[in-house]
């Protein structure tokens, strides 16, 4: 009962503060919005790249280049044996001629150069498709090592590409963490400064509140509520802006790139991320206000 009344008075006071300090409130919310927008755009980019990797990574193709001394019959025997591995879902044999043909087809410009060579420099190969759930580079590597034999000239599973992509994603994740840290501390600083300004503007009020028997919490909590409300508003504004930007970019991708990129889809952040951003915004607001109102003028108490 009494607690409910208290909460009511504290919330009313928080909104009074906000109304009386419109300019500071707008500045604070704008700062939170900008930093949350920067961070969540980053998150959106990361989320989509990670997603894409997952999609591509599923379909691991291993190319086994055979020495020229290996005949097709021998190759097919090896292939039959490879298919007994549970990691392998499909396999096919590509002869030297087929390799040259597809090479010339994909790079028509250089076909003439290879013709001039007189001999076919491309090796025959066995193409393996690995199981979907083998997306982990370490697992692929282990498998590839385990099947290696002396008939193989080289085994290539677009390893470099996947690893570079993973490394890039790692880099992205770390820059994201650093960026989040910087943005968060900047926001907390600015929130605490603006709330402090509002706080100093009310010093006389606190003295009077204390004189009529208000506890320290009664005086401080409205400022904490103010911080949380500002954080919440900023985070939600950032999400709305991000969504608008996403729709625009999505529209561009739809008309142009989407065809070329095929299966890759550009998706918006899932609701769990959105909820996390809102909570993060509220947390920043709360932290900023806690930092600014730690000390309250105390009348007569030392």
């Amino acid at each position: 009962m009494v607690l409910g009344q208290y909460i009511r008075y504290l919330v009313v006071r928080a909104f009074q503060n906000i109304r009386e300090n419109k300019f500071l409130t707008v500045v604070t919310v704008a700062v939170i919005t900008v930093s949350m927008l920067l961070f969540s755009s980053f998150l959106l980019l990361y989320f989509n790249l990670a997603n894409a990797l997952e999609n591509w990574g599923h379909d691991v193709q291993v190319s086994i280049y055979l020495r020229d001394s290996v005949s097709e019959t021998e190759a097919r025997a090896i292939m039959a044996e490879l298919e007994t591995h549970q990691e392998v879902t499909a396999s096919s044999y590509v002869s030297k001629e087929e390799a040259l043909e597809s090479f010339s087809r994909s790079l028509s410009g250089v076909a003439g150069i290879i013709d001039d060579l007189g001999t076919n420099p491309l090796p025959a190969s066995i193409e393996l498709t690995l199981r979907d759930d083998l997306a982990d580079t370490a697992a692929i590597e282990a498998f590839v090592d385990s099947i290696d034999r002396q008939e193989f000239e080289d085994v290539d599973w677009s390893q470099e590409w996947v690893e570079k992509f993973y490394a890039f994603l790692d880099l992205l994740r770390w820059s994201g963490i650093v960026l989040a840290g910087l943005l968060a501390s900047a926001s907390v600083f600015i929130i605490s400064q603006t709330i402090k300004l509002g706080f100093y503007a009310r010093r006389d009020e606190f003295e009077i509140l204390e004189l009529v028997g208000a506890t320290g919490l009664f005086i401080r909590i409205p400022f904490l509520i103010e911080g949380i409300v500002q954080g919440l508003t900023g985070a939600m504004a950032a999400e709305v802006l991000l969504f608008v930007a996403y729709r625009i970019v999505h529209g561009i991708l739809d008309t142009g790139l989407q065809e070329t990129l095929g299966a890759i889809s550009f998706r918006f952040l899932p609701s769990s991320y959105l909820a996390g951003i809102v909570l993060g915004g509220m947390g920043l607001g709360l932290l900023g206000s806690i930092l600014s109102v730690r000390k309250v003028v105390r009348v007569g108490a030392d």
Binding site: L3, Q5, Y9, I208, E210, L211, V212, G213, G300, A301
Partner: protein, 217 residues
Amino acid sequence: MIEMFHVYKSYVEGIDVLMDVNLHVSKGEFVFLTGVSGAGKTTLLRLMNCTERATSGQVLIRRRNVARLTSSSIPYLRRNIGVVYQDFKLIRRRSVFDNVALALEVLGTPRAEVQRRVMDVLRSVGLQHKYLQYPPTLSGGEQQRVAIARAIVNDPAILLADEPTGNLDPDMTIEILKLLMDINNRGTTVLVATHDRSIIERLRFRTLVLEKGRIYH
């Protein structure tokens, strides 16, 4: 209710504002505190609601030694003491209603009751029609009455009034004194600091005289 033993107070090292003050105000009493300007009346009241601490000596409020109160229990002491400040101490940005309501809100009083009690007390000080105005738009006497309303709205055990009639005309002075006596009749211990001899002579309550920091009875 209020007791002081050998109380000394100095704001500046070496200058005693209060010297060896001893007093006892019983529950339900109505007492005047008088003395020339600068005698230390306000200082004495400040010691009672813990806005200042005695340099030495003991101050007991409701048998509790205020020097021993922790800073977190001071608010609870203050809720039992209504104070009319000489300089009113009203919040300029809050309406008359909100200023008075504050004393009840810190107690967690339900909204409907706040509404009723604030309007009642404003009526008793003759300001019910000004409840939406802000302190800067009121006359000195009106602000003083808002301060009185805030001090008595929660029926405190003790009422300390520092020059509560300082800005009032004779008619309003009588009104306010009646109000203070009313509250006193309902059981509140009242201590009124004033240098207005006429009201002290008219009412004939016990009077404490402060002279150069010492109490004379």
